[in-house]
Symmetry: C2
DNA sequence: TCGTAGTTATGTACGTCCTTCATGGTAAGA
DNA sequence: TCTTACCATGAAGGACGTACATAACTACGA
């Protein structure tokens, strides 16, 4: 190994705006402890786990015109009779509204979702699941259940709860940080 | 609620090959217990967590011509002096070799990686990290560390270990299952 | 009432990841 | 030798996701 570099000064200014760096360091707290390696490993593990989930899902909804992001929307819409606006779907899923528009397009082409005008706001469009969409969900439920059970084979209920909550805490941290950063760049250059 | 459908027969033959279904059910074990909801929640949570990681990573490597999959490769290559073959990289990352070829293309265009012939096998090509690639990694290390620390803000060392291991157990399950399924479809139609 | 600022969905244009299939070059075992 | 298998890559395509611009519409203040 080489000796340790001096990371106290920015090795490459273009990587992060100093304000961003400061905000992160501030948010992260004490920067000099041994948890770092673990966080890298955990980050990589999440990526691996996600790919596993996606591969299972791809296998399950194979050749049926619905996949990944679209399925997320369909499941959300299955819980609502009146329908959900594009913007609300985007906020709930944490993606851009343009992306949701595209996903709803494909679902609508497949007849699983229908666009209806929002009676309360004429700018807004509600996506509403169709009977065919509900039938699709119904048919998907059991194979999906089997696949998920297989994915989490050997996990106890407690482990599942812990796992879910750790994932969500991560996401909350990221959301919080993104909020701070965007808020920070909206305001003046120097506080 | 409506009454329960009869899921003992396949509600839609095109969803899963019966052999695949049987293999999954067999692998998953007892199908009639209350863990199912938790597995769905956990699956969705993984997806959310992954998006958080990706967003952080995108923020960090922004505008530097390296992202996600390419970064994974670069980090792997940083650990090897001689270089790693395309096929080995693909197997290690769990993606198609064609995909790795493309990622190495972009890294090579950026000057971070170089292709060298494999002295032991003239079919094979080794990807080897360049000094510029190592410098990139070096510059990326600290901001990335801060970002990861922020992502896992509030996680104890024990929680990180548990989280990492749960992710990897998931991936192992999926891998195991995929092996069984491919093995199953390679052999005859009826066992 | 009018005008302005903000919101909503969507068109356009991109970039990235990942896949399958086909192909020419190469290794290795019959 | 010759047949089979493996290796990287060309070609083509699907899906996800982004940013920016725009037309329709709402809401709020003068």
């Amino acid at each position: 190994m080489k000796d340790v570099h001096n990371y106290d000064r920015d090795p490459d200014g273009s990587l992060y705006d100093p304000r961003v760096r400061a905000a992160m360091a501030d948010f992260a707290g004490d920067p000099a402890d041994p948890l770092t390696l673990l966080t890298f490993e955990a980050g990589a593990a999440v990526r691996t786990a996600y790919h596993s989930v996606e591969r299972m899902r791809a296998h399950g909804s194979q050749g049926r015109g619905v996949s990944a992001g679209a399925l997320d929307l369909l499941i959300r819409l299955n819980g609502s009779d009146a329908g959900i606006s594009i913007g609300d779907l985007a906020r709930a899923a944490g993606v851009s509204s343009r992306n949701v528009t595209g996903l709803v397009d494909t679902l609508e082409n497949d007849g699983l979702v229908r666009r209806v005008p929002d009676p309360g706001d004429r700018r807004s469009v509600l996506a509403r699941i169709t009977p065919a969409g509900r039938a699709w969900i119904e048919a998907f439920r059991e194979p999906s259940r089997l696949a998920m059970r297989a994915m989490f084979q050997g996990f106890s209920a407690e482990e599942l709860v812990v796992f879910r909550d750790l994932c969500l805490r991560m996401a909350a941290n990221q959301h919080h940080l993104a909020d701070r950063l965007s808020h920070l760049s909206q305001n003046g250059e120097q506080p």
